[in-house]
């Protein structure tokens, strides 16, 4: 497909990675984003890169170790993670997770309190123990998104920001062009990776994509002394110590919202910051004196089973749809590779991703959101 033109709808981490992979194969790539690359969930998440439940896991793990070199820009990727249990129930659950990893040959080690504190000096005597993942890691979402964008440009790709897609032109069972308010971009293939806006966009092509949007929140503290291992989860929180030392953490209740084709109207954070602060003070009691300096929210979309959708449609047959169902950042090196494969070869070269196909939702009830309680509050 060298020399052909692919338009990517959505300059989030998934679309940008796909564009970068395609550009590496000599494809002429144009990315259209409604605002600024990575402005939504791609730049607002916890930065985790340890998705062991995904068919993309092995490729995710293989690639993150090389991303700084491959992209040519820093991502702040750091290796490994630890999960700290703060209640007896969590300790039981986390050891269950550890046993599962051992069964799947993922390298993990169960740690006692002293071992936890050696790796995570901000942890206290109040924990039950921890599970050390000798895989996975974390990176800086905003820096990584921009790294993909710049690397894509370095390979000749084009990014148009402030260019929301308004529609498609089709002919002969294919999308032939993607339209914005001011321009029409001819194409040989299209990748729709527009997050919560995917359903509205794809409805224009007569394709139903079941996704529901929700708002999730995070807080961040001032820098703490650097810990030997910064990828600290547990106490039903996810997060990381940044390379600057800040503790960035999220978790807890989400709010389902409605998002129209122009994207989220706002991303307000709430007093949930207090509940996050409490749990972080419990998880890392020696950090309890640290100042919280910001909180924020982001909007993610979820599929009915919470698993990604990566699929090339049969009609129009030159469209690949990609939603990572709320956990796209870490998967991005691998999801982009898979999307590139589907666009060029119609088949993923490194993993069986049939489970991510849309056909699994064939029998989905029309009221699937209502049945799950995934509807916006009035």
């Amino acid at each position: 497909m060298s020399g052909s033109e692919v338009v990517i709808v959505g300059g989030g981490v998934t679309g940008l990675s796909a564009g970068w992979w395609l550009a590496r194969s000599g494809v002429k790539v144009t990315v259209l984003d409604k605002f600024i690359v990575g402005w939504e969930a791609s730049g607002r998440n916890g930065g985790g890169a340890s998705h062991y439940s995904s068919p993309l896991f092995d490729e995710e793990q293989r690639l993150w170790l090389q991303m700084d070199d491959l992209l040519g820009y820093p991502t702040e990727h750091q290796k490994e993670r630890i999960l700290i249990a703060m209640t007896e129930r969590q300790w039981e659950q986390y050891r269950f997770v550890a046993a599962r990893h051992q069964r799947l040959n993922h390298p993990v080690e169960v740690l006692d309190v002293k071992q936890v504190q050696e790796m995570v000096p901000l942890a206290g005597d109040n924990c039950f123990g921890g599970v050390h993942y000798k895989f996975g890691g974390h990176a800086n979402p905003q820096r990584s998104v921009q790294a993909y964008a710049w690397a894509l440009q370095d390979l000749g790709g084009t990014i148009h920001q402030h260019s929301p897609v308004t529609g498609f032109e089709t002919a002969g069972g294919k999308v032939t062009a993607v339209k914005t308010a001011t321009a029409t971009y001819g194409c040989d293939a299209v990748v729709v990776a527009a997050g919560p806006q995917i359903p509205q966009l794809m409805a224009q092509l007569g394709v139903d994509i079941p996704l529901a949007a929700a708002r999730a929140e995070m807080i961040i503290t001032e820098p703490a002394p650097m810990m030997p291992l910064g990828g600290v989860d547990g106490h039903k929180l996810y997060g990381r110590q940044t390379m600057r030392g800040n503790l960035a953490y999220g978790g807890g209740p989400h709010e389902w919202i409605d998002v129209d084709e122009v994207g989220p109207a706002a991303r307000p954070s709430t007093s949930l910051a207090r509940n996050l602060a409490r749990r972080l003070a419990e998880l890392l009691p020696k950090a309890a004196h640290l100042n919280v300096i910001r909180s924020w929210a982001g909007v993610v979309e979820n599929s009915p089973d919470g698993r990604p959708i990566i699929d090339r449609l049969t009609s129009p047959d030159n469209v690949v749809v990609a939603s990572m169902s709320g956990v796209g950042f870490g998967l991005s090196p691998a999801s982009g590779h898979a999307i590139r494969d589907l666009v060029i070869d119609d088949k993923c070269s490194f993993a069986d991703i049939n489970i991510l196909k849309l056909s699994r939702f064939a029998g989905l009830e029309a009221d699937w959101r209502e049945r799950r309680g995934w509807t916006a509050l009035a």
């Binding site: 820096r143 370095d154 954070s269």
Partner: protein
């Protein structure tokens, strides 16, 4: 395992919120003259009124330039909280009147966030303001909120500005007139508009030596009467020059060198170039605001339930373009200082790295990275301060951008050849004051919060390893990790 949906997502936020501890018809944030007047006015209509003011703030927070740009020039007296509290009452006799009128008054209490339903959020039982004192944080519901949060000084980044003794005019005035706790003797003042002239006169009145005023423009900018008063006091205004650098020692500033080459001995450099309305809360609640150069910058646009009074609502319009004046200063200071001048003190970001859109120095800068700059970023679209903040870290530090937000925006405007108005100001976020985890924490949250709490969305199929789908391990996984949803 079949999933039995109940129509309810137990991990969604509905019903989990902590209730507000109290409710007032009107909450006034800021107990300066305008705030007190607004509180009294509301009280006279029969409303229940809460008046909060973060002053006196702790010595540690003052060291962090909260709420004003104190520049480390406080005396040890500011560590004595009882003395500080007394000083607030003494300096503001109307506080007694407010209390006698039946207004609930909380000093040393910060309003760190305002939350209300709107686009993207419908889960709040009522609109609330987040409060905190030295012990804890809590929520208070309100019918109407009045912001009387005042204004703070624009800071200027010149070589040596990151030393004790470089401070703002509003902070100097507060230390002199309210707390009698200024730890300096000889002050050089930057600027010559009314703020600078008034500050100089107050300094003289309080027995300080004013080493001079510095003005980038050709003539003193303030009213003729004030200029004459200052001349009569024997203070000279150095025009057509900016501050080029500051020299100092272990106790901070010892002298300033002007771009004209002149060196002036002083222990304090007081930046009196402009007051910026304190709109943090409005911004953090996504309230409407507009740029009004004649009134000092971005000012809140009044709403039915949110209003602003006093300096927070904007400076008095005297026909003076504050934004243009500040731009002149930032341009002149940048022109007379080296590119490696620190612009963001907290994150140690230099002007070169800001305008080069370079990462912090603990990250590698491979050739491709070095080739990037604001100029290349502008090919993708107009400059956006939040985007550049995230890449460079300028404004991401513990001072929450209080020292550099506005000057970074001005530098971005200058470098991109745009007016100040074209640069979207970096966002303010709750908590708008640094709050320790243990203070911000909700230690009395309702049980429903813990019941709903999941690390992510609580979707039982989401994290089943792909190898386990359709095997007995799948049911085991759900049974162990998901205790409520869909069962």
């Amino acid at each position: 395992m079949e999933l039995n949906f109940t129509g309810t997502d137990i991990c969604a936020v509905g019903g989990t919120r902590s209730p507000a501890e109290a409710h007032y018809d009107v909450v006034v944030v800021g107990a300066g003259p305008s705030g007190i007047a607004a509180a009294l006015e509301a009280k006279q209509t029969g409303a229940s009124v809460l008046l909060v003011d973060e002053n006196p703030v702790s010595g540690a927070l003052m060291g962090n330039d909260v709420p004003l740009y104190f520049g480390g020039r406080m005396t040890a007296a500011t560590q004595n909280s009882e003395r500080m509290l007394e000083a607030v009452f003494m300096s503001m006799p109307a506080l007694e009147q407010a209390m006698e009128a039946g207004i609930e008054l909380l000093l040393g209490t910060t309003a760190w966030g305002v939350y209300r339903n709107g686009p993207g959020m419908q889960s709040l039982p009522e609109q609330v303001v987040g409060l905190a004192d030295a012990e804890r944080s809590w929520l208070v519901g309100f019918g109407r909120i009045v912001l009387a949060t005042g204004a703070r000084d624009l800071a200027l980044a010149f070589p040596g500005w990151n030393q004790p003794g470089v401070m703002g005019a509003a902070a100097l005035q507060m230390l002199l007139t309210r707390y009698a706790a200024f730890d300096g003797h000889r002050v050089l003042i930057l600027g010559s508009h009314d703020l600078a002239l008034e500050t100089a006169l107050i300094a003289i009145e309080h027995g300080l030596e004013v080493a001079g005023l510095v003005e980038v423009r050709a003539t003193p900018q303030g009213s003729a009467g004030l200029v004459a008063k200052l001349a009569a006091a024997g203070v000279s205004v150095h025009c057509n020059t900016a501050v080029a650098s500051a020299q100092g020692g272990i106790n901070g500033i010892e002298a300033a060198t002007l771009s004209s080459g002149k060196t002036i001995a002083c222990d304090t450099i007081c930046t009196a170039v402009g007051l910026i309305p304190s709109i943090e809360l409005v911004d953090a609640m996504h309230g409407p605001r507009e740029l009004d150069a004649m009134r000092g910058g971005y000012v809140p646009v009044g709403e039915v339930t949110v209003s602003a009074v006093g300096l927070c609502a904007g400076l008095a319009d005297s026909g003076f373009d504050h934004v243009e004046y500040r731009m002149d200063w930032v341009r002149a200071v940048a022109a007379s200082s080296a590119p490696d001048t620190i612009i963001c003190q907290c994150e140690e970001v230099t002007r070169a790295d800001l305008l080069g859109v370079q990462p912090p120095n603990y990250l590698a800068r491979p050739p491709a990275m070095c080739a990037r700059s604001l100029e290349t970023l502008l090919n993708d679209g107009p400059a956006n301060q939040d985007q550049i903040k995230r890449l460079t870290r300028a404004g991401m530090g513990v001072c929450q951008g209080r020292r550099c937000r506005d000057q970074v925006a001005m530098l971005l405007a200058l470098e991109s050849g745009q007016p100040f108005a074209a640069i979207p100001l970096a966002s303010h976020r709750a908590p708008v004051r640094p709050l320790p985890l243990k203070i911000l924490a909700d230690w009395n949250e309702p049980a429903q919060m813990e019941a709903a709490w999941d690390v992510w969305f609580g979707i039982p199929t989401q994290w089943v390893p792909v190898e386990d789908i359709g095997t007995p391990f799948e049911d085991e996984h759900r049974g162990m990790l998901y205790t409520g949803m869909y069962k």
